[in-house]
Each structure stands twice: as structure tokens, then as C-alpha cells.
């Protein structure tokens, strides 16, 4: 088999994957009678036309990137973390708690402290499914989803009770939200609403790259994820690394919540998590489970998420379309990966191709 053929095979599969994605999304769009081309334009290109839009895209890319990096660490260690949504919510709660508890601590101390709190909040929420998987073999797919629902309820309970803005109690509007947090936990802004969380995301990407590919800790995590049995036979305590990877993964999701709060909302309200936890799974897969792939992937999905908010007014398509596309993209990615790694298929096509050439010659 020639190198050229291998490349062509890859290119064709990727092209087919893209076509399949567009086709499936188009079917849904066609069903609701939308202008398919205009919708894709609105979602994927419209946001790039203005600076303001681009900064909004980047704002969405920041939590996506941080969450997806965390998910990739867990995924590489053999555990699929669908629970980032809940871990993010717990991170936000912990961050808010720290900010509300120590409003007078100076910023250089309080901001790192609150961010650390958000990591702990998310980390604990990630540790639960991690340890349940390691010790009791509980499917993380189910436990993390359940923990998402639990976290969501716990989140509204907190906003409605202990975190409730005293002003809301006075006015009696009853909007479940916290008071505006002290400026000492705010992250600075670069332009518009775009905040310095973007630097945090980039630094974390580099750190995780080093951890996973340059250290023995990452080596053991990847071994546990690639083949748990061989890793165990090789003296690696797989359970420990699985649980540890979930703590890291949860901590990252929690941190994403903290950064989002400190940079954008600056008070805990409903809906901050915005499905970022689930989108993070797609971003992680789309980025090839590698930090340097996740950076561009998170920009792309930030684009889609922001673009979909423009869709209802511009082309009359509900914003849920982004969830549809994410679902399709996950399925297409995992399918395309199997096709690409299918040596049998590749071999068969190669032989057909050769037979064809022989016939022509």
C-alpha cells in the first residue's frame, strides 16, 4: 500500500464524515422548513464578521476549552466523563461560597482562593464517579449523568436559599440568584466582555500536554486508559489513576465554572453552565483528545454555540439545533475513527483499486 493511497483514504473518509454531518443536520433543518444554507452561514460564518461577535465566540470557547482538556485527561485514562455539567455547577457554587464568605480579603489572595475553591468543588464531584468506578465498577456513564441531575437540583436549592441575594428577598421578585460578588474575585477584561480566562485556558493546555506526554504520571494514566488489564499486570494501580484523572477532570470543569463566574457573570445565576459540560465532550473528541487539538476545537464549537444563538432571530431556527449538530458530530467522529482504523477495509479497497488499475492498463 502506498503512502499516497493511505493519505487519500484518510482524506476521503474525513470528507465523507463532513458530508454525512452536513447531510443529517440538513435533514432536520429541511423538516422545519429552514433555509439550510443560510442557517449554516449564520451558525458558522456570521459570528466571524464582526469583532464583537468574535470576542463573544472566544468567551464561549474559554469554558469549553478548560472543560474539554479535563475530559480528555479522563478519557485518556479510561473513563468517560459526561458529568462536567454537574462538576461545573459545583465549581460555581464553591466559588460563590468563597466569594460570599470572605468579601474583604484582598484580590491577589481572594481570586486564587476562590478559583481554588471552584476546583475543589468540581474535583469532589468528579471524584465520586471516579472512586465508584475504581472500587465498585460503577459505570461512569450512568453515575456522572445522575450526578448532573443531582448537582442541578442542588444548585437551584442553593440559589433559592443560602445564596439568595438579600435584595431579592426585600424586593420579593424571587429570582433565584446570588448577590453581585465582590470585585475582589473578578477577572480582568481584555476587550468587551472577553476576559483573561483565555490565558488560563492556554496555560492549562500546555500544562496538561506536559503532564500527559512528558511525565511518568501521565504515562501511567494513559496506560491505564489504553489497556487497564495490561497496566494492572505492569504494576500500575489503575484504580488510583482512574480516580485521580476524574479529580483532575472534575477540577477543570469546576474551574471553568469559576472562571466563567469571575470573568463574565460575576454573580451566580441560573443557566451559567449552558450545556458546556456536554459540549465539552464533543470538543474533546473533536480535538482528538489532545490539548493542542482542543484549543482550535473549542474555538469552533464556541463559534457554533454563539452562532446558534443568532439563528432564531436571523433564520428562524431554534437554538437547540446546536445540540442536534453536536450529537451528530459525536456519532460521526467515533464512526469515522473506526473506519480509519479498520485495516481490513483499507486493505480491501486497496486491492479493488489495484484490480481496477490493472484492468485499465
Amino acid at each position: 500500500m502506498t503512502k499516497g493511497f493511505r493519505l487519500a483514504f484518510r482524506a476521503v473518509v474525513v470528507l465523507l464524515a463532513i458530508l454525512a454531518t452536513l447531510l443529517m443536520a440538513s435533514v432536520i433543518l429541511w423538516m422545519i422548513g429552514a433555509d439550510v444554507a443560510a442557517t449554516f452561514y449564520t451558525i458558522c460564518f456570521e459570528p466571524l464578521t464582526r469583532m464583537l461577535h468574535i470576542s463573544e465566540v472566544l468567551i464561549r470557547a474559554i469554558p469549553l476549552c478548560i472543560i474539554a482538556i479535563g475530559i480528555s485527561v479522563a478519557y485518556r485514562s479510561g473513563i468517560i466523563n459526561i458529568g462536567a455539567e454537574g462538576q461545573m455547577a459545583m465549581g460555581i457554587l464553591a466559588f460563590t461560597g468563597a466569594a460570599l464568605a470572605f468579601p474583604d480579603v484582598p484580590r491577589p489572595l481572594l481570586l486564587p482562593l476562590a478559583l481554588l475553591a471552584s476546583m475543589i468543588g468540581g474535583g469532589v464531584w468528579g471524584f465520586i464517579p471516579g472512586i465508584l468506578k475504581a472500587r465498585l465498577n460503577v459505570s461512569e456513564l450512568l453515575s456522572t449523568v445522575m450526578l448532573n441531575y443531582i448537582a442541578a437540583q442542588f444548585y437551584s436549592l442553593c440559589l433559592r436559599t443560602i445564596y439568595l441575594d438579600p435584595a431579592e428577598q426585600v424586593d420579593g421578585t424571587g429570582t433565584p440568584q446570588s448577590m453581585r460578588l465582590t470585585e475582589n474575585v473578578w477577572l480582568g477584561r481584555i476587550t468587551g466582555r472577553l476576559h483573561f480566562g483565555i490565558l488560563i485556558a492556554l496555560v492549562l493546555a500546555v500544562l496538561i500536554f506536559i503532564l500527559m506526554w512528558k511525565t511518568s504520571i501521565g504515562f501511567k494514566m494513559r496506560a491505564s486508559g489504553s489497556c487497564a488489564r495490561a497496566a494492572r499486570y505492569g504494576g500500575i494501580s489503575v484504580g488510583f489513576y482512574v480516580a485521580a484523572s476524574m479529580i483532575i477532570s472534575g477540577a477543570f470543569a469546576g474551574l471553568a465554572g469559576g472562571v466563567e463566574l469571575a470573568g463574565v457573570h460575576r454573580r451566580a445565576i441560573e443557566g451559567i453552565t449552558n450545556n458546556y459540560g456536554f459540549s465539552g465532550v464533543v470538543v474533546a473528541l473533536f480535538g482528538g483528545l489532545h490539548p493542542f487539538g482542543i484549543i482550535p476545537a473549542s474555538f469552533f464549537f464556541g463559534l457554533m454555540i454563539y452562532g446558534s444563538t443568532l439563528a432564531p432571530s436571523k433564520v428562524g431556527v431554534p437554538a437547540n439545533i446546536v445540540q442536534v449538530m453536536q450529537g451528530i458530530i459525536i456519532i460521526v467522529i467515533v464512526t469515522a475513527q473506526m473506519v480509519l482504523s479498520n485495516a481490513y477495509l483499507q486493505d480491501r479497497i486497496w486491492r479493488k483499486y489495484q484490480a481496477l488499475r490493472k484492468k485499465e492498463a
Binding site: 432536520i28 423538516m31 422545519i32 422548513g33 468517560i80 459526561i82 465520586i128 465508584l132 465498585l136 465498577n137 460503577v138 459505570s139 456513564l141 450512568l142 453515575s143 449523568v145 445522575m146 450526578l147 441531575y149 443531582i150 437540583q153 442542588f154 437551584s156 436549592l157 433559592r160 436559599t161 456536554f278 465532550v281 464533543v282 473528541l285 431556527v317 431554534p318 437547540n320 439545533i321 446546536v322 445540540q323 442536534v324 449538530m325 453536536q326 450529537g327 451528530i328 458530530i329 459525536i330 456519532i331 467515533v334 464512526t335 475513527q337 473506526m338 473506519v339 481490513y344
Partner: protein
């Protein structure tokens, strides 16, 4: 006090139907060796289409029962199509089932939400289907309320449990399903088309998940919303583990979880001063607790669950 308990118990059977159907469907998937985490998404689609048909027919007002039936049928067909699609992804292309299931779930929930906003718009209710009081039996105090005054779909769903058992353990197809999920290689060597059996099981499972969703929207909530399913699809998957892949035990699990869910309704309706959110959490916590006790050393598990089969790759 007795009232509250009777009330809770009488909700149990009708409220458990969705979980039960979805879970029995998932049981067939897993017995054949495929783990379909997309159940939640299929239920969402079933719920949407099931509600859409009577809604379109009657504009929210009264409609003939035939439209409700049509809603159920459409949901089953759509569910089977989703099963077929999942088969294409996981059986033919052999994609990893867990993550593909998550994709299917997002796709289903997202599509249902998108189409719902376009075709229905906001919260709209439909008349749903009436409860049938079984003559004589329904008049027995307490027992009558708990067991004998529910809607027809609920009775049918419960009648399906022994049928599912019979299919699995007494028919040639059931035998094929069990072999395909435990030793696909052995089944293959006996001339059984493992992929085909898995496709069939996925379609049956999908149809049941679709029906489960339609039951929620037509018979139970009499409406559709984004949060209608709220994790029932995932709980259904967990129930299969809890029920050791056996219809009767799955039924027990479905009733147990429904009891936990009705707790929330009781809290709400009785105005007890108990944080509502904590009551809502209960079934989800229960899932985690139950999984913690049942996930280890599952020797009854179909041993090839989650493993794609490829005749030409020897392991």
C-alpha cells in the same frame, strides 16, 4: 396518612410504565450485546412525535382515540428507526457504544427540542387517554385504586412483561439474542447472523423506548417539554443492571424507582415543608446507590456486552 400512601401507591403503576418499557427495551439491546445509552434521546423523540400527532389533529382540543393510537405507533416506528441507525453506527461500523450512545442522546433530545419549537411552540397540552376502571375489581377499597383504575396503555405495558420473558427464554429469537450477547463467536459458528440479531434487538429496544416516551407525553404528562424525560432514559439503563437482565426483576426495579419519584409529587401536592429539590434528587441518588451495590461481579451479565463483533478479527 393512609390517603397519602394509597395516593402514592396508586401513582406507582401508571408512572412506572415509561421506565418499565424503556428498560425492557434496553434489556433486549444488552442481552444481544449492545449498550444503548441513547435511550434518553429515543424517548425524547417518541414523546415528541407521540404528542405531536394528537396535537396536530385536535389543535389541543379533544381528538379521537385513534390519533392517540397513531401517536404511539409513530413513536414505536421512529424508535425502531433510531435503533436501526444506532445499529449502523455500533454494529456495522463498530463504533464504541458508550460514547456513540451519548451522541444519540444529544441528537434525539436536540432534535425533539428543535422540532417541538417549530411545530408546537410553547407549552400546549393534549387531552391524553382516560383511565379505565376495571369492573368490580376497581371498587375494592385501596387495592382497586392501586391496581385497577389506570389507563389502557399501562395495563398493556404490564401484560408485556411476561411476553418479554417468553420471547427471551422460550423462542428461537430469544435464544439467538442471548447467544449473540454472551458468545457471539459461538453463535456465528452456528450459522447465526450476529449482526442481524443485534440490529433486530436494537430495533425492538428502540421501538419500546419510543413507546415509553410516547406514554410520558400522551398518557402521563399530556404535554411535551424539554425536561419531560429528565434522565428516565438513563435510569432505564441503570435498571437493567439492577434487574440482572431479567424482565421480572426489572419490573421490581421500575416500581421501586417510581416510588422514589412519586415522593416528589407527594411533597409538592401535600405542601410539606421539605426542600422540593431534595425530593427531586432522590431517584437519581437511588440510582447511584443501587449501581454501587450491583455493579461488581455481575456474573449474569451478557459477557460480550459492549464489545463489537468482527468475525475476521480473532481475539
Amino acid at each position: 396518612m393512609l390517603d397519602i400512601i394509597t395516593n402514592m401507591l396508586s401513582m406507582c403503576i401508571p408512572f412506572s410504565v415509561a421506565l418499565l418499557l424503556a428498560s425492557i427495551g434496553e434489556m433486549f439491546n444488552q442481552r444481544a450485546g449492545v449498550f444503548n445509552l441513547g435511550c434518553e434521546g429515543v424517548m425524547a423523540m417518541g414523546a415528541f412525535i407521540g404528542m405531536l400527532i394528537p396535537f396536530m389533529a385536535g389543535g389541543g382540543g379533544a381528538v379521537s382515540e385513534w390519533y392517540n393510537l397513531l401517536g404511539f405507533v409513530a413513536a414505536a416506528v421512529l424508535g425502531a428507526l433510531f435503533g436501526l441507525f444506532f445499529g449502523l453506527v455500533t454494529v456495522t461500523f463498530r463504533a464504541p457504544q458508550g460514547i456513540a450512545g451519548i451522541g444519540l442522546q444529544m441528537f434525539g433530545v436536540g432534535t425533539a427540542g428543535t422540532l417541538f419549537r417549530h411545530f408546537v411552540g410553547g407549552t400546549q397540552s393534549i387531552p391524553g387517554i382516560p383511565d379505565i376502571d376495571i369492573p368490580v375489581l376497581s371498587r375494592i377499597p385501596v387495592i382497586g385504586d392501586i391496581f385497577f383504575s389506570h389507563n389502557a396503555a399501562a395495563y398493556l405495558a404490564y401484560l408485556f412483561i411476561p411476553v418479554a420473558w417468553y420471547i427471551l427464554f422460550r423462542t428461537p429469537w430469544g435464544l439467538k439474542v442471548r447467544a449473540a450477547g454472551t458468545s457471539p463467536r459461538a453463535a456465528d459458528s452456528m450459522g447465526i447472523n450476529v449482526s442481524r440479531v443485534r440490529y433486530e434487538a436494537l430495533m425492538l429496544g428502540g421501538a419500546l423506548a419510543g413507546l415509553a416516551g410516547a406514554y410520558l407525553s400522551i398518557a402521563q404528562a399530556k404535554m411535551f417539554s424539554d425536561t419531560l424525560i429528565s434522565g428516565r432514559g438513563f435510569i432505564a439503563v441503570a435498571l437493567v443492571y439492577f434487574g440482572h437482565w431479567h424482565p421480572a426483576q426489572i419490573m421490581g426495579g421500575a416500581l421501586l424507582f417510581t416510588l422514589a419519584q412519586t415522593f416528589q409529587t407527594i411533597v409538592q401536592s401535600m405542601g410539606i415543608s421539605f426542600p422540593y429539590e431534595l425530593a427531586v434528587m432522590l431517584p437519581y441518588i437511588l440510582v447511584i446507590v443501587v449501581l454501587s451495590f450491583t455493579s461488581r461481579n455481575q456474573i449474569t451479565a451478557p459477557t460480550s456486552l459492549g464489545k463489537p463483533f468482527n468475525r475476521e478479527i480473532r481475539t
